[in-house]
């Protein structure tokens, strides 16, 4: 039985449902369908047959694996580190009395800056010749490091790995700077929701600061931590503009033609670059479907495993 109240709700929801259907549901279904169409031509919509050819092409592509490795680096190295730093920062911020608003604004700034612009500035900071970092290193007496440089990497794998690691480091620093902002605000909100009473009661019982953190702060903060972790991993899987901002659309330093720092989304975008040729869009669709499945799978795993550590009140 649909009660009278429900009728109204459904009618009010119709416009939103319509938009969702047109701009979300239909594209997703269409993408999944397209990913199975071999030799798909975007302009005409014609294709050869339904097959796994697109998936086969992706899974044989070395660059795709490079994309997976880079994306995993962002999701499973940068995210935990930035979560930890954000937690420490939020704890410190929560305990200071003055200038709280000032610091909060400061930490939130990366959220409101343009990703490309920020990335370009970071690339400049790490510039080999006149970058800030190298200038500071020289002042301290250390040799300047060629952060983003592709000299000689085509020839030797050693040099390639070295250049790759340096680029990863730059990416890491940038992701930390970027990731800290939102997480700090979220953790701060979560911390401020923990009532003072609990800390007072524990203090009167003579509990050490570390024990208070471990047994009271962490459990009561766990819903926030869980949320931050899930959303950060999902965001990390979608990383694209950060990499392009730092390493330009070739996904690597000058002199590199292996798309060193490409991510999965970058792979999809590149496949779409030649969208007029046969099979391009379908390959991109296949990659997108793979990305979607990985995110869903990973999120489900996170929920299952981490759920028993989250205490909701």
């Amino acid at each position: 039985m649909v009660k009278r109240r429900d009728y109204h709700a459904y009618i009010y929801l119709l416009p939103a449902l319509f938009l969702m259907g047109v701009f979300v549901l239909y594209p997703v279904m269409n993408t999944i369908l397209t990913s199975f169409k071999e030799g798909y031509r975007f302009l005409t919509g014609s294709f050869l047959l339904f097959s796994f050819e697109n998936y086969r092409m992706i899974l044989l592509d070395k660059i795709f694996y490079r994309a997976i490795i880079n994306t995993s680096f962002i999701a499973f190295v940068c995210v935990p580190f930035s979560m930890l730093s954000a937690l420490v920062t939020a704890l410190l911020l929560n305990s200071i009395k003055r200038l709280k608003g000032f610091f909060m604004t400061l930490f939130y700034l990366p959220q409101v800056t343009n990703v490309i612009a920020a990335g370009m500035v970071f690339a400049l900071i790490f510039n080999n010749h006149f970058g800030l970092i190298n200038m500071l290193l020289v002042k301290v007496g250390i040799n300047p490091v060629a952060w983003i440089s592709g000299v000689g990497i085509a020839a030797s794998t050693e040099l390639y790995m070295a250049s790759y690691l340096r680029c990863l480091f730059v990416l890491f620093v940038y992701m930390m700077w970027n990731g800290l902002s939102l997480k700090v605000i979220l953790f701060l909100g979560g911390l401020q929701n923990i009532r003072e009473d609990y800390y007072l009661a524990a203090r009167l019982d003579g509990t050490s600061k570390w024990k208070i953190f471990r047994k009271i702060t962490v459990p009561l903060l766990s819903p926030t931590t869980f949320y931050v972790f899930i959303t950060s991993v999902i965001t990390a899987f979608k990383a694209y503009s950060q990499v392009v901002a730092l390493f330009t659309t070739t996904y690597g330093p000058a002199g590199d033609n292996s798309k060193m720092m490409i991510t999965v989304v970058g792979y999809i975008i590149d496949a779409l670059g030649s969208y007029l040729s046969a099979g391009a869009v379908s390959v991109a669709s296949a990659a997108a479907v793979l990305l979607m499945i990985s995110i869903m799978f990973l999120t489900a795993v996170q929920f299952k495993i981490l759920n028993r550590w989250v205490h909701y009140k």
Binding site: R195, D197, Y198, L200, A201, A202, R203, L204, D205, G206, T207, S208, K211, K215, I216, P219, L220, H311, K313
Partner: protein, 316 residues
């Protein structure tokens, strides 16, 4: 300040003769029950109660020594203490629940158990009954009193509800704006207040505050002589509690009835005296209630005289 959260601006604090003014809160052996209970929501009742024992450095050391002396494991010692204190507050069947599965009164008892389990030298209760409904408040109040009698721990109870204070305490301290006014048993503070503030503060019926004049050792309320005293002549404020003024056939006060108010079970009346003041008294149901004129008798010991600063100078 007792718990050591706020600093002193002046003075010192002694527990059993030991100066604890500068002692850290955790070293003062204080058990505290908060107004909002502050039970850890992510732990069971049992884990809440044993929290002090498990997580305090100094208590852990004591426990280890005790365990060694009695040749038992520390865990067993903790279980014993938790069981004993749960029995005292009567929540032994609820040990496996979490705080959000308990009613207000039950949460309160868990909070008390947690404060008692570390055998503190002093128990602090910060308006513990404010969050309970009226019936539960009276019930829990009795339970707290029984617990205190059973354990004998010095207990400081903070409340703004005077009925609570009068019923539960062996000694009351009345404080106005941070300054101590009077300390005494509930009876003392109620029957023999030392100043006007204390007299007006206590009592479910507001004490009658009237102006009287003393001439040649005789006290006059209007034209009524209500007693004799050695105080010098002049105008004074006197206070008499309504329940001590009886409508009777013989008395020292004469007034005309202007109002009757019914409070659940007791009817009070307001009489107009011949100098224009209104005095509230308890009506006598056996006397004719239609009479316009009432004669009032004062119980002995009920008249209090206060000087211009509000300090009591005489009482008879």
């Amino acid at each position: 300040m007792l718990a050591g959260i706020h600093d002193f601006t002046a003075g010192s604090l002694f527990f059993d003769g030991t100066d604890v003014t500068t002692l850290a809160p955790e070293k003062r052996k204080i058990g505290m029950v908060f107004q909002n209970y502050a039970l850890y929501p992510h732990l069971t009742v049992k884990q809440n109660i044993e929290f002090p024992l498990v997580n305090s450095k100094s208590l852990s050391k004591q426990l280890r020594e005790q365990a060694k002396n009695r040749r038992v494991k520390v865990r067993q010692l903790i279980e014993e203490k938790v069981d004993e204190v749960s029995r005292v507050v009567e929540i032994s069947e609820l040990l496996d629940r979490t705080p959000n599965e308990l009613s207000g009164g039950q949460q309160q008892r868990v909070a008390i158990a947690r404060a008692l389990v570390k055998e503190p030298s002093i128990l602090l209760l910060d308006e513990p009954l404010s969050n309970l409904d009226a019936r539960l408040r009276v019930q829990t109040r009795e339970e707290i009193r029984k617990i205190q009698e059973r354990t004998g721990i010095t207990t400081v109870f903070v409340t703004h509800d005077q009925e609570e204070a009068m019923n539960i305490c062996s000694e009351i301290a009345i404080i106005k704006e941070g300054k101590l006014q009077q300390v005494g048993t509930p009876r003392q503070v109620y029957d023999r207040p030392c100043n006007l503030f204390v007299a007006q503060f206590l009592g479910s019926f507001l004490i009658n505050t009237l102006t009287a004049s003393i001439q040649e050792g005789r006290v006059f309320l209007g034209t009524n002589n209500i007693g004799s005293t050695h105080l010098p002549n002049g105008k004074y404020t006197i206070g008499i509690r309504p329940e001590n003024i009886i409508q009777s056939e013989q008395g020292c006060l004469l007034g005309s009835l202007v109002a009757s108010i019914r409070h659940a079970g007791i009817e009070t009346g307001e009489a107009l005296l011949d100098d224009g003041q209104i005095i509230q008294f308890v009506k006598n149901p056996t006397l004719d209630s239609e009479e316009a004129k009432v004669i009032l008798r004062l119980k002995p010991g009920s008249v209090m005289v206060f000087d211009t600063h509000g300090k009591k100078v005489a009482q008879w």
